[in-house]
């Protein structure tokens, strides 16, 4: 067998993306402008798919909360002067699984930020829709610091999700990891 130098195989990447039912994907820096542009593309795509207006709103809002959480985290890291990883470079995908849409995002994160995030996700996992609504309203009243928006976003996503939020943490080294979150709407 002849082996040639391995090129970057875009076909292979495209096949992987297709195999997982991904319809739209973006990997790179999440600027606010990119979030706006992708948001419009997602809306147009869903309109063409003729989903109900309520589902369109749900998928769009989960997409916005996911991407803004990644973006806000990167802004926070930058403000703290932590630049050893490109926190702003993330990935977001929107796909289909059976009758549902799945919105996933992934980004680099500090391992030390994971325990509180995991605790929050586990707390949401045990709540029904009514309890989630009560928690959401309570958080709306108690979140004072404008930078603490992430918690509210997670509850909002859990309210719109048809299945529990799924997350994964891929350890990179002593300090950092890659965090991913998938929300089935």
């Amino acid at each position: 067998m002849i082996t040639i130098m391995k090129k970057f195989d875009l076909y292979d990447l495209k096949q992987t993306v297709n195999r997982h039912g991904v319809l739209i994907s973006f990997a790179g820096p999440f600027s606010h402008g990119i979030i706006e542009e992708l948001g419009q593309a997602v809306t147009r795509y869903l309109e063409a798919e003729a989903v109900t207006k309520a589902s369109l709103t749900d998928v769009f809002s989960v997409f916005i909360e996911q991407t803004q959480n990644v973006r806000n985290y990167a802004v926070k890291m930058e403000a703290e002067g932590i630049t050893d990883h490109d926190f702003n470079s993330g990935i977001v995908t929107i796909g289909r699984s059976n009758q549902h849409h799945v919105v996933c995002s992934g980004n680099f994160a500090r391992k030390s930020d994971m325990p509180s995030l995991v605790a929050q996700l586990n707390q949401l996992h045990g709540l029904d829709k009514k309890e989630l609504k009560a928690l959401y309203k309570q958080q709306l009243r108690t979140t004072r610091n404008p930078g603490e928006g992430g918690g509210l976003g997670l509850i909002d996503m859990a309210r719109k999700a048809s299945e529990p939020l799924e997350y994964d943490i891929y350890e990179l080294d002593e300090q950092y990891c890659f965090f991913s979150l998938c929300v089935t709407v």
Binding site: K53, A54, R141, L152
Partner: protein, 126 residues
Amino acid sequence: MENFVIEPTKSSPAILFDGTTGILDIAGESYPENSYEFYKPILHWLSRFCNNFREAIVFNCRISYLNTGSTKSMMDILDLFEERHSKGLAVCVNWYCDSDNDRAIETAEEFKEDVTFPFKIKSLEE
């Protein structure tokens, strides 16, 4: 009082507060990069109005989508109105939403639950 005007962008709504009539119009999508900073000036303007004038306030809201940060700021605006209402001054909200969008109606109803002043949910065509 002078008017307060903000032009819309893709992710932030148009805001017009008429300082003479007390009519506040907000229309568009709301997921600005920093919702707190975006809504701070209008909140400040409205508090000034509330502290200095006794005229009625009518808020016509035509926001098609609010992210969680904007929802928080919207609660702050409604809290200010609630305070005004508790002092016996007139405030009312006309919240317009797409009658085909159950989620938009639900969002409006959740705001309505938290206030005691007149809050009408209207169809966009009205």
